[in-house]
Amino acid sequence: MLTRRELLKNSVTLLGSLSLGACLKQDIFKEKFRELSEEEKRRFLKRLEERYEKRYGIKFSVRDTPPQKGVVFGYALDLSRCIGCRRCVYACVMENNQSRDIPIQWIRVLRIKKGHFAPSDFESAEHYYNPEKVPEDGYIYIPVQCQQCENPPCVKVCPTKATWKEPDGIVVIDYEWCIGCRCCMAACPYWARRFNWKEPYIPEKEINPDTHYYGNRPRMRGVVEKCTFCIQRTRNGRYPACVEACPVGARKFGNLLDPESEVRYILDNFSIFRLKAELNTEPKFFYFFSLGR
């Protein structure tokens, strides 16, 4: 027979393990963000904001601005203007809270000798060029980032549906749902995805607190990240950081469905091409030469 004292002790243990279970459910067995109700999403974003505020000591906003109807984003890059200064790379790092100590950069600028450029072959590309001054004679520069494919190979291979294409064409990742298997990295023909090999480090002073859940909010180690066309900006009517940073206006961005947009003007008036078109990934990132160079 149980004595009253034993009964009491047992129920305390039971309660304890139940609350531990609740904690586990919250932290490990949490549900996928996409499948939460609006109410639950609000609460979860609030929790995230509190967590980030505690860590970085500054007011944070983590939004989940949905895609706008009638908008599909497209990007056009004028290779004849690009001077290879990498300002876009650094603006992107600052805007999107990329890890600094083991640097993660979503944009890679390639330097290729004039006459050696082919949109499918980058074997002669230099990644770590470092001259006194750019542009250099005899070279062209090709910035490469996520091409926001219409047929994204990375989405197809993900075993957990942690990455997908949004209605406005942006391929996003749910950092809470990624298991870090890195199949998407093997599948991407543009080497656009990066992995957090360690806990990312961003100096408190440099943190950008204006974030989107699928975009630039601080990530954790062991998950994959990539360019989202600055989802936190573009869904609120602003340009991506790289477009703003480009000193020569080589980068153009807009709504592909809007016939009046700048991007559409370029598609209609220049001969554009896409990288590795033969792979049938249908990028929404277009390259063109507006001038002879």
Partner: protein, 560 residues
Amino acid sequence: MRLLKELSVFFKGFTDVTFRGGRVFYVWMSILTLFILAGILAYIHQLRHGMIITHMRDQVSWGFYVSNFTFLVGIAAAAVLLIIPAYLYSFKPIKRIVIYGELLAISAVITALLFIFVDFGRPERFWHAIPFIGTANFPYSILTWDMLVLNSYLFLNLLIVLYVGCNTYFGREPDKHILMPLIIISIPLAVAVHTVTAFVYNGLSARPFWNASILAPRFLASAFCSGPSLLIIIFQVLKRFTGFRIEDRAMEKLAEIAAYAMAINIFLMLAELYKEYYSKTIHLTSLRYLYEGLGSYKRFVLPMRVSLLLNILGLLFFLIPETRKKAPALIAGAVSMFIGIWIEKGMGLVVPGFIPSPLGEVYEYSPSVYEILIALGVFSSGAMLYTLSLRAAISLETGKLRHPFAPPPVIEKEGLTAGDIMTKEVIAVLPETSVDEIAGLLIKHRISGIPVVDNERRVLGIVSESDIIYREIHRDPEILERLGGIVLPAYRQTIKKGLTAGEIMTSPPVTARVDTTLRELVELIVDKRIKRVIIIDSSEKLCGIVSRIDIVKAIERLHS
């Protein structure tokens, strides 16, 4: 209550036979435990600091773990290899060892899954990939398919092994109507396991090195080399260190299969080399990295050349019947093939897929100390699992682990072999001996059959009473002889002259090696409906004969 009691009896017996052993066993287990502990410590380090402690980077984002995963799936597919000859062609010596192959498949699948697990950046979220519980990307993600197929394969093999194990424990024969369908399903599943693993790489258009349709066939071919090689090594070790008995013929068969598979593997590789080197597209770069090196980047050149050499060596050892039959050469062949494939289909397959990167970058990868420690730990846990399950299986087979009320396994208990019970003085004849002479010998010695040998006592066939009687009834020459008569008129002459042993003998005769167990002899005699088995030594020479009466005498001896 009764169930609990039964279970405790079983577990006591089980722990007795699996966890108690001789010195070799304890030393082996201690080494494995040490490696596992080191692996766990290294893995904790990886959990705490992230995968930065590996040498993988964004350029080469899969490395040692995924390489070993791929290799082990190949080993797991090996079980199928034993099943096909054993059940479809009823090749008896292999049938006995099928269960050990399936146990190996189970351990290999579990080890492979462990390798995938340690490769996850967020292992605590692995359940996101499970159908219904998480959000599996079915049917698009091939990794999802791979996990499904691997787990079904694991489950099916577990089912088979448990079913056979339980029946043996209670001293019953497993029901063929239950067992056979399970085994038949496991064959295509084993092929599927490896094909789907190949497809994980194969489907990625971003990686031309993997995006070649020859990949899945090559995977299968190389699996059929490494799997049997590992089994040969394991059986040789068991033979040396334990009382485990295995027929040489089974081992030779495994080596033969591995040899053909290796020939196909090398052929497929050459086909690939030709295509890339002759067409010389930009996709040649990965292959050039492997076999020539790209400028100063040549970390893979030496290992790949060694692998090629080992593969060819293994092929030669296994292809030539003389070396296949000798234990040292057999082991040498198995070891070289195993290591050769481990290099080729582990690191040699996974890493060059990432070199050059889709943007043309070359990052030279080799595993870090932590990666090696973790991999060692994972391999060791697989080895420990296999060791323990093997011990349980052997104890079940020999009757050491058995239900107290189950009938004891009668025949094999004493470990009698053909050598112990055979008649050693055997009368044999040369092929030229006339039938009349043979009939005289049969009557004189009161025997029912006579082996026919060549000058070096190598067995060519057997003439039994029934061969002689059969000839009396069917005087007509057989179809082949008739044809011979038409083509060569002189042939008719030989038929008339009176038949010889060489012409009427049954050839090839049913033979068995000296170390064949009594049980196997009984099975042979019942299966083939014969009266006697010719016993030969390792050089195929006649050394005795076991007739039905010899077996009756042996059983009588056992029971008294």
